[in-house]
């Protein structure tokens, strides 16, 4: 009994502490409610917050896709034999091409390409079928408008696969194997759809922008209007200000994740192959990373414009350049490859791709998770420290 008594006695200061904590929680909730009021009353913020992800997904998913449909091409058929006609009808039947016209000579072809609306020309030399049958090898010339190199590559690969398709049919009916070229296979994205690449990229980009910019701006706004001073003089501690600022944007960003995923599943026909739970867990980690960066920016800046500019320039550009979703990192010079490692979006992008498209589990991405968590910790320590330095 006496032991229990002392224990009870020793513990009693814990009771008022718990009451204090309760008041703390209430204060934070009041603050969070206020933050929501700010966001929900500002139509512009709302529009940016929820409109941007939708617009970006649709733009990246449809407009900026590398998938090409109905590219206008011209055909110069000098052979006019069975083989060339069959290939031409195959091309005409595909969704990718629309045969604009058939030209008779190279002069006409050049003119057509110069107009700029023709993306590609396919030329069958005379004796196409004869060459194929008698010499076991025939040639097709493909001339692509390479002003847009990606587009040109995509289109030539489409033509290539149509020709191979024909070749296979041809070899089936004839027992002697004619020229066999290595088969091109597009893993995970056999139709060369744009969406698989863009959805994870847009997710990283949108979360980065929303979290970093919104948090930074909302804190700097309090500095600019003078309310921050009032908060600092009040018993509400700066640490709580940060928590109360971060929570609403974490929740709002999760709504963004949901809306992006819904769009990608139902509008872009891109299923989530892996665990949705894991995807959300990694997203929360990435959102927290972004929030800490936003807080850091808000500590270092004093006006909303500067905060917004730094968030946009400092976050969007590196994210687009170094996350690997627009430009392959493997092709960059080594120094840039090294720099790309400190871009949080890179790791998130890799993880989302692995979970969503390849359907991999945590075992495959624990390394990336660890790296992202480490970046978050470092950012958190730096921003909390600089927040304190500013106060004294």
């Amino acid at each position: 009994m006496p032991i229990i008594w002392t224990k009870y006695f020793m513990n009693w200061p814990a009771a008022p502490n718990a009451v204090n904590k309760l008041i703390d929680m209430k204060q934070i909730l009041i603050f969070i409610r206020k933050e929501f009021a700010h966001v929900l009353r500002d139509r512009k913020t709302l529009l940016i917050l929820f409109g941007m992800p939708i617009v970006q997904i649709l733009i990246f998913g449809f407009a900026l896709t590398s998938e090409v449909k109905d590219a206008r091409i011209v055909i110069m058929d000098q052979a006019k034999d069975a083989a060339s006609k069959q290939i031409i009808s195959k091309i005409a039947a595909s969704n990718y091409f629309e045969i604009d016209k058939t030209v008779r000579n190279s002069q006409e072809m050049k003119e057509a390409l110069k107009q700029g609306e023709i993306r590609l020309a396919v030329i069958f030399p005379a004796n196409f079928y004869d060459d194929l049958v008698h010499q076991n090898e025939a040639r097709i010339q493909i001339i692509a408008d390479a002003i847009d190199p990606n587009n040109a590559t995509t289109l030539t690969s489409y033509i290539n696969s149509i020709v191979q398709d024909y070749q296979m049919d041809f070899n089936k009916t004839n027992n002697i194997p004619y020229r066999i070229t290595p088969e091109l296979r597009f893993l995970y994205n056999p139709e060369l759809k744009g969406a698989p690449n863009y959805v994870p990229g847009v997710m990283a980009l949108v979360l980065m922008l929303v979290c970093v910019m919104m948090t930074a701006v909302s804190i700097v706004k309090e500095k600019e209007t003078g309310t921050m001073e009032i908060l600092l003089v009040s018993p509400f501690s700066p640490f709580k200000v940060i928590i109360a600022k971060a929570v609403p944007y974490l929740l709002l960003s999760l709504i963004n994740v949901v809306s992006i995923l819904l769009l990608s599943v139902f509008v872009l026909d891109l299923p989530i192959n892996g665990s949705v739970l894991l995807l959300f867990a990694e997203s929360i980690l990435f959102i927290i990373t972004c929030l800490t960066i936003g807080i850091f920016i808000s500590v270092k800046t004093n006006t909303m414009q500067v905060a917004m500019l730094i968030s946009l320039m400092g976050m969007m550009l590196p994210t687009i350049l170094f996350s690997g979703f627009m430009f392959p990192i493997e092709n960059m010079p080594v120094p840039l490859q090294i720099i790309s490692n400190i871009i949080p979006a890179k790791w998130y992008y890799i993880m989302v791709k692995d979970i969503m498209i390849k359907g991999l589990g945590f075992g495959a991405i624990w390394k990336e998770t660890l790296i992202l968590a480490a970046i978050t910790m470092v950012m958190l320590i730096i921003s909390l420290k600089s927040f304190k330095i500013r106060l004294s």
Binding site: K26, Q27, F31, D42, T227, I230, V233, S234, P235
Partner: protein
């Protein structure tokens, strides 16, 4: 018998070689309206920040409502109210929401907040505007509301940093009525201002020049000492020797 709620002794703040506030010593009594005057750059804001617990003094002593400015800043923050020269309520919240928010972060209960806000709205005659966004109120109203929010949690002392900047004389007069009300209820008022007519409303004033308190007395005594007709002349007499400007 009066009790001092603000006590400072040789309070000093240095930023490197620069001494922003140099050995400031004064006392302010409970319920007193204390005017804290000085030209721009004289060190008023620095001194005030130290008293509010926002900035740690380099040396000297000070207690606010009996709490030490070095060790007990948390208790100080609970016992004071603060209103800055910038208008500092949330413009995109309604009058009521602002009151709720500031009451909330000072830890008032819902019941307290409810009675307080009714009281305040009736007192200021804001019944019509209670549910309107603050942004739609005229500046004079905003200032009054700001002040009322600063004393919502019944602080012992309220610090006002140039509270009437940019406000017309009539509204200023009304604002001072609120200040007198609060002082009558025993709230100590610590106010900085650039308006010398406002200085006359204070019980006592101090005039700071180049980080040092050059004069401290009632307005009447100051005028007598400097053989001046009004506070303008007193202030000019003291401040023209200032080396620091903006």
């Amino acid at each position: 018998m009066s009790e001092a709620v603000i006590k400072t002794e040789k309070l000093t703040k240095r930023f490197g070689d620069f001494i922003a506030a140099n050995e400031i010593t004064f006392e302010v009594d409970k319920g007193e309206i204390f005017g804290f005057l000085g030209a721009n750059g004289a060190g008023k804001t620095t001194a005030m920040r130290m008293l509010c617990g926002l900035s740690t003094p380099s040396s000297g002593k000070a207690t606010i409502a009996g709490f030490d400015v070095y060790k007990q800043t948390e208790q100080i923050k609970k016992s004071i109210g603060y209103m800055s020269q910038k208008f500092s309520l949330y413009e995109d919240l309604t009058v009521l929401e602002n009151i709720k928010f500031f009451g909330g972060i000072y830890g008032l209960t819902n019941q307290q907040i409810k009675t307080k806000s009714e009281e305040l709205i009736n007192h200021l005659g804001l019944q019509q505007e209670a549910k309107k966004l603050v942004v739609s109120l005229p500046l004079g109203w905003k200032q009054k509301l700001s002040f009322s929010a600063a004393i919502l949690h019944e602080p012992k002392i309220v610090f006002l940093d140039e509270p009437t900047g940019g406000v017309d004389p009539v509204t200023r007069r009304q604002f001072w009525d609120l200040i007198y009300d609060a002082a009558d209820r025993g709230v100590t008022i610590f106010v900085t201002t650039h308006y010398m007519d406002e200085a006359e409303y204070c019980n006592r004033i101090s005039i700071m020049v180049d980080g040092v308190i050059k004069a401290l007395d009632t307005p009447r005594n100051l005028k007598d000492t400097f053989h001046a007709n009004n506070m303008d002349e007193v202030f000019y007499e003291l401040a023209r020797g200032a080396k620091r400007g903006e």
